[in-house]
């Protein structure tokens, strides 16, 4: 199948995601529970999105690792997958979709505006460490996204006006604890991502660490996660303050994943 066919399948996926997100938001606003429909649409979107990525992979003979279009597409896919798993396995927190899906809508909008042009896989990407490094990075970002959803609910509740709409969710203390768990998972996988990245960098450029922009920002993000986990223990933070820290981690991670690789001129362009 050619590029047009691939884009058509991708559009079907995006429409399914947007419908799922919109129904989830309306469900929260109207205090309805269209959860099976939302989960079904998410699954449909993921199947179509997987097909679109597979078609591109088959045509170009490399995975979605090089251009902004590929990186955004693969991240929308992995974040949707992470959130769909959380949505499926954790029924108690399903209304969190009303916070998470708008973040993904933004990324989908961005995806649809960038060129789906093609390029070759750089020689430094011909390694199994590409998949390991990127895989760990995607789990980290997926866990952080779920934590952001939980934290978003805590922050919206504090405003007062939306408390009723999220009343079905557990208390903020419990949401904060779940968010802490997600950040802990994220911390483990970000550490693994840094280790795998160092092995790859040693293989590709003969050094495991060189303070290039992406390495530096990835390490700063790791440090911010470390600070947020320590701060919870040290100061017994309120759910609201803990939620702000999670948002801080997400902003740092988002800039590292989607900002730094595209302003840096080093060989390490990022492939997340």
């Amino acid at each position: 199948m050619d590029l047009i066919g691939e884009l058509r399948v991708l559009w079907v996926a995006v429409i399914a995601y947007v419908l799922a997100g919109s129904i989830a938001i309306i469900g929260v606003l109207l205090k309805k529970r269209p959860e099976r429909t939302v989960l079904g649409l998410m699954a449909l979107g993921l199947v179509c999105h997987t097909a679109a990525i597979a078609l591109r992979w088959q045509r170009l003979e490399h995975g979605p690792f090089v251009t902004m279009f590929e990186i955004l597409s693969s991240n929308v896919w992995s974040l949707m997958l992470a959130f769909a798993i959380a949505y499926w396995r954790l029924p108690a927190i399903r209304p969190v979709a009303a916070i998470v899906m708008p973040i993904l809508f933004t990324m989908m909008g961005w995806l649809m505006t960038v060129s789906p042009g093609e390029t070759h896989l750089p020689p430094t990407y011909h390694t199994v460490w590409l998949f390991i490094h990127i895989g760990f990075g995607k789990v980290f970002l997926g866990a952080t996204l779920v934590a952001v959803g939980l934290s978003g609910v805590i922050l919206v509740r504090r405003e007062g006006s939306s408390e009723g709409r999220f009343s079905r969710l557990p208390e903020s203390d419990r949401l904060s604890e779940l968010s802490y768990r997600c950040m802990a998972i994220g911390f483990v996988f970000e550490t693994l991502m840094l280790i795998a990245g160092a092995i790859w960098a040693q293989d590709a450029w003969g050094r495991y660490w060189d303070w290039d922009p992406l390495e530096t920002w990835a390490f700063i993000t790791w440090l911010i996660v470390g600070i947020s986990l320590h701060a919870r223990l040290t100061f017994n933070l309120s759910p609201r303050l803990g939620a702000w820290l999670v948002l801080g981690v997400f902003v740092a991670a988002f800039l590292t994943f989607f900002g730094v690789p595209f302003v840096s001129n080093t060989p390490h362009q990022g492939a997340v």
Binding site: R89, L90, P91, A92, T119, H120, P122, P123, T124, H126, T127, L178, R181, A184, I185, F187, V188, T191, L192, I195, A198, I199, Q202, D203, A204, W205, G206, R207, Y208, W211, P213, T216, F219, I220, L223, I224, G226, I227, H230, A231, L233, T234
Partner: protein, 323 residues
């Protein structure tokens, strides 16, 4: 004493030093000298903070996975320090058919590095670099040979992700390569010399294929340039190759010679002797690294992450996510 230990072990201090470490990272990032005193100071403070916590905090000591994680982090810091004291990093260029004899274009080494790069001899037997249209480099295959410790000739193909490892020196061949002008120098007195003038990396410096150097016994430097019209790196894709038709321009002061790209086509008489053009070859660039701490760093990092996962598993497995 105990009070001082408790103060040093404080988690508040940990957080403060974390922020200091973040600032030190920014300083290292914007500074050419990466191992800045601030980075060393912040990591040392974290190490002291951790050691004090281990010494004074019984609750911390009882949590074995968390202890393992932090001790592994401490090991990583110490290994990085040892690595910075003993590391070696360099860049070498070896002409096709010539031997690497320990000569580097530039080097950087820790004060305790046991210099031994000259022992890591090998011969560059030639390079194959394939480009896709663009041109976009698809991969480098550099053929090398060396005589091992038992006196047996060994051969290998190195390239991206596949370095040559000799005496713990890792030679990485990837994008950096160029053309080398081969010259013979017969001084009026003394033995003849053979040598190469390595032109700047190609195609990164495609418009600057010239270099100036000095000959023994000649006060004035020599300048040589390579001119060609074909595409050694084909835009439509293909293999990197020597230009088929080219001209070598040599200049000294106001004098200029043009050599028609064939070996032996031009001998140049200079005040100190005779310069003979012998031909055109390629050179391969090698990124060279030596760091014996790497396997230990990997082991410590994996220990850290496994211990961390173990700690969180213990912490969270008692209560269901859906509870």
């Amino acid at each position: 004493m105990l009070r001082a230990g408790s103060a040093l072990a404080s988690l508040r201090l940990t957080l403060g030093v974390f922020i200091f470490l973040g600032l030190s990272i920014m300083l290292a990032y914007f500074n050419e000298v990466r191992t800045s005193p601030w980075l060393v100071l912040s990591l040392s403070m974290l190490a002291i903070n951790l050691l004090a916590a281990i010494a004074t905090n019984q609750h911390f000591r009882r949590q074995l996975p968390l202890m393992c994680f932090h001790l592994a982090l401490l090991a990583i810091v110490l290994l990085i320090a040892l690595g910075r004291l003993t590391y070696f990093k360099g860049r070498a260029e070896v002409v096709d058919g010539e031997e690497f004899t320990g000569q580097f274009v530039d080097t950087e080494a820790g004060p305790w590095h046991p210099l031994g790069a000259a022992e890591a001899r090998f011969t560059n037997l030639g390079t194959r670099i394939v480009y896709a249209p663009g041109p976009v480099r698809l991969g480098t295959e550099n053929h090398v040979a060396w005589v091992d410790e038992n006196g047996v000739l060994q051969r290998a193909v190195i390239g991206d992700h596949n370095p040559l490892i000799r005496h713990h020196y890792r030679f990485y061949a990837n994008w950096n390569k160029g053309f080398a002008l081969m010259f013979g120098w017969q001084p009026k007195q003394g033995a003849p010399l053979l040598g190469s003038v390595n032109l700047p990396s190609y195609p990164a410096n495609a418009l600057q294929q010239a270099r100036q150097w000095s000959l023994p016994g000649n006060a004035e430097p020599i300048w040589a340039a390579l001119h060609f019209d074909d595409q050694p790196v084909p835009e439509a894709g293909g293999e990197f190759h020597l230009p088929e038709h080219y001209t070598v321009v040599v200049r000294q002061g106001s004098q200029r010679w043009e050599l028609a790209g064939e070996p032996g086509t031009g001998d140049i008489e200079l005040p100190g002797g005779r310069l003979s053009y012998l031909g055109l070859r390629t050179w391969m660039g090698y990124q060279v690294a030596w760091d014996r701490t790497m396997p230990w760093l990997l082991a410590a990092s994996l220990t850290a992450v496994l211990a961390l996962a173990w700690h969180f598993w213990q912490k969270f497995s008692g209560r269901s996510w859906n509870a």
